[in-house]
């Protein structure tokens, strides 16, 4: 599928009266990579789940390539097929081999034959250096390998948009690089992506736009140079100073 563009207009969400997202606006152009930064609980993860329609929004609008996917009557299962999402942890299905994890979606959702689904899956696994793991169960893989398989699983239905929710946060430090490498590859191919991350160096490197979410508000949004070198809001400066103090930037 070709890369999609995405627009969020006034997206709001509350859980049990607690506002998690407050009127968030965001424009993501074709092939653009947006990194969302902010402390835990700022709403990054919820925002991604809203885009994937895993969490229904309370008000606002989400538009995917010109189609309002949050409008009534839209089939969320169909929308989800045009985008892939990868979570922080507990991603893979532990009772299925790697190859079955990847082919489950194509076979059950798209009705692709097992042989065809497996050949697609093998091609992707080979590209990401995971072909020898095809017959393994997830608990035999390292955390980094598991996350790469999760990315392959999201890619197999050829999404036009990838949503990555802190995919390196649960990994041992030495495994982070291999996963970030995969994401860099995706960017090089022109994939549209929205990435929630705590890896500031990576965000500065890979993002076209960086958004700072604070308590459900998109406080600041701009090119990485502007956000990281010259933040306008005191809250953004405070956040970045803490990150620098912790040696993470």
């Amino acid at each position: 599928m070709t890369a999609l563009k995405l627009a969020l207009r006034g997206v709001a969400k509350a859980f049990d009266g607690k506002e998690v997202l407050r009127s968030v606006d965001l424009e993501v152009a074709h092939h653009q990579v947006v990194c969302l930064i902010g402390s835990s609980g700022s709403g990054k993860s919820t925002l991604l789940k809203c885009i994937n329609l895993l969490v229904p929004i309370d008000s606002g609008q989400i538009v995917l390539d010109g189609v309002a996917i949050t409008a009534p009557g839209v089939n969320p299962n169909q929308v989800r097929q045009s985008m892939g999402i990868v979570f922080q942890a507990f991603n893979l299905f532990p009772h299925m081999r790697v190859i079955d994890n990847i082919t489950l979606g194509p076979r059950k959702v798209h009705g692709v034959s097992r042989a065809e689904a497996e050949s697609q899956a093998r091609a992707l696994l080979e590209r990401f250096g995971l072909l020898d793991k095809a017959a393994e169960y997830p608990d035999r893989l390292s955390g980094g390998q598991q996350q790469r398989v999760a990315i392959v699983r999201a890619l197999v239905s050829r999404p036009g948009l990838m949503l990555l929710d802190e995919v390196t946060s649960a990994l041992d430090p030495e495994l982070v690089a291999e996963v970030l490498g995969v994401i860099r590859d995706l960017k090089a191919e022109g994939m549209t992506m929205v990435i929630a991350t705590h890896e500031m160096g990576f965000a500065r490197d890979v993002a076209d736009l960086v958004g700072f979410l604070d308590d459900g508000v998109m406080l600041e949004l701009g090119p990485p140079a502007a956000i990281f070198e010259d933040p306008q809001r005191p809250r953004t400066r405070q956040f970045l100073q803490r990150i620098i103090a912790a040696g993470r930037l």
Partner: protein
């Protein structure tokens, strides 16, 4: 190559009677075994001596443990006991299937499924709230008495139906506990690749859920294996009924003991297997988390 922890566990096999000891020196281990043997022999020896020397024992033996009556009744009871086994197998298969369907229906989310959820909760409350014997009487005598056209009127059929009706509700709750024990992110992952709610349950949640509740399901097997005998109240000639008929003719209770031996011969191995499986699963989980 040294065996992995998992391989070592799998090799150990059943450990039925005593809990695993922590590693100790062989001398201590030998002394421990000696103490165990001596204390067991002493306790059971004293118990046996007390029972056998009691004044009432000859009468008890005549009424309950008569070898003559045992030999006379056992073949008949055994012949009828096969019906218990058949009822158990048929009922258990239906229970596992219906229980799973009910649990899945109850786990569906969203307003559209509310009527289904209400139905399943109503059924579970009803089936678990009624004594099994009452259900068997109600369905086994009640429904055939209606003489509805096209509805079977055999007591055996409705006896099994009552067992399934009751046990499927308990089993549905066991499955549901398993479904709830699977991490929410698994459901999210499944939905995110485009699976529908039912597909997510069937392909992703349920296989993991069932694994988590196998010991509880096996426990249900043990329980059902005895409860099939309850259909004897409908006049079905299964093992207990045959023992009852023998007793009514001879006024000797040894035929009941013959039936008891048969039920134990099936349920004890299942119970031991359950213990062994649970233990093995627990160790596997431990091995995995290290």
């Amino acid at each position: 190559m040294a065996p992995t922890q998992l391989e070592r566990i799998e090799r150990r096999g059943p450990r039925l009677l005593w809990p695993r000891r922590s590693p100790r020196s062989s001398e201590e281990g030998a002394r421990g075994s000696l103490v165990a043997v001596v204390s067991t022999v002493v306790v059971f020896g004293v118990l046996a001596a007390l029972v056998l020397s009691s004044e009432a024992w000859p009468a008890v033996q005549r009424q309950f443990f008569s070898w003559t009556h045992f030999k006379a009744s056992f073949p008949k009871v055994l012949g009828a006991f096969w019906l218990d086994i058949k009822m158990f197998l048929v009922a258990e298969i239906l229970i596992l299937v219906i229980g799973l369907a009910v649990a899945m229906a109850r786990s569906l989310r969203g307003p559209a499924f509310l009527p289904l959820r209400i139905l399943t909760i109503g059924y579970i409350d009803l089936a678990r709230g009624l004594p099994l014997l009452l259900l068997i009487l109600l369905m086994g005598f009640g429904i055939p008495a209606l003489q509805l056209p096209g509805v079977p009127n055999s007591a055996l059929f409705w006896g099994i139906a009552a067992l399934v009706f009751s046990y499927a509700a308990y089993t549905a709750e066991v499955y549901r506990a398993g479904i709830d024990s699977v991490h929410e992110s698994q459901r999210m992952s499944a939905r995110s690749i485009g699976l529908t709610q039912t597909q997510s349950l069937w392909h992703v949640i349920v296989p993991q859920a069932v694994r988590n509740v196998v010991p509880a399901l096996l426990n249900g097997f043990v329980s059902l294996q005895k409860d099939v005998a309850l259909v004897f109240v409908l006049g079905v000639r299964e093992g207990l009924r045959e023992a009852d008929i023998y007793n009514a003719r001879t006024f000797n209770y040894t035929s009941y003991i013959a039936a008891a031996v048969l039920f134990l011969a099936v349920s004890v191995p299942v119970a031991r297997f359950t213990d062994w499986y649970t233990e093995r699963d627990r160790r596997r989980m431990q091995a995995m988390s290290t």
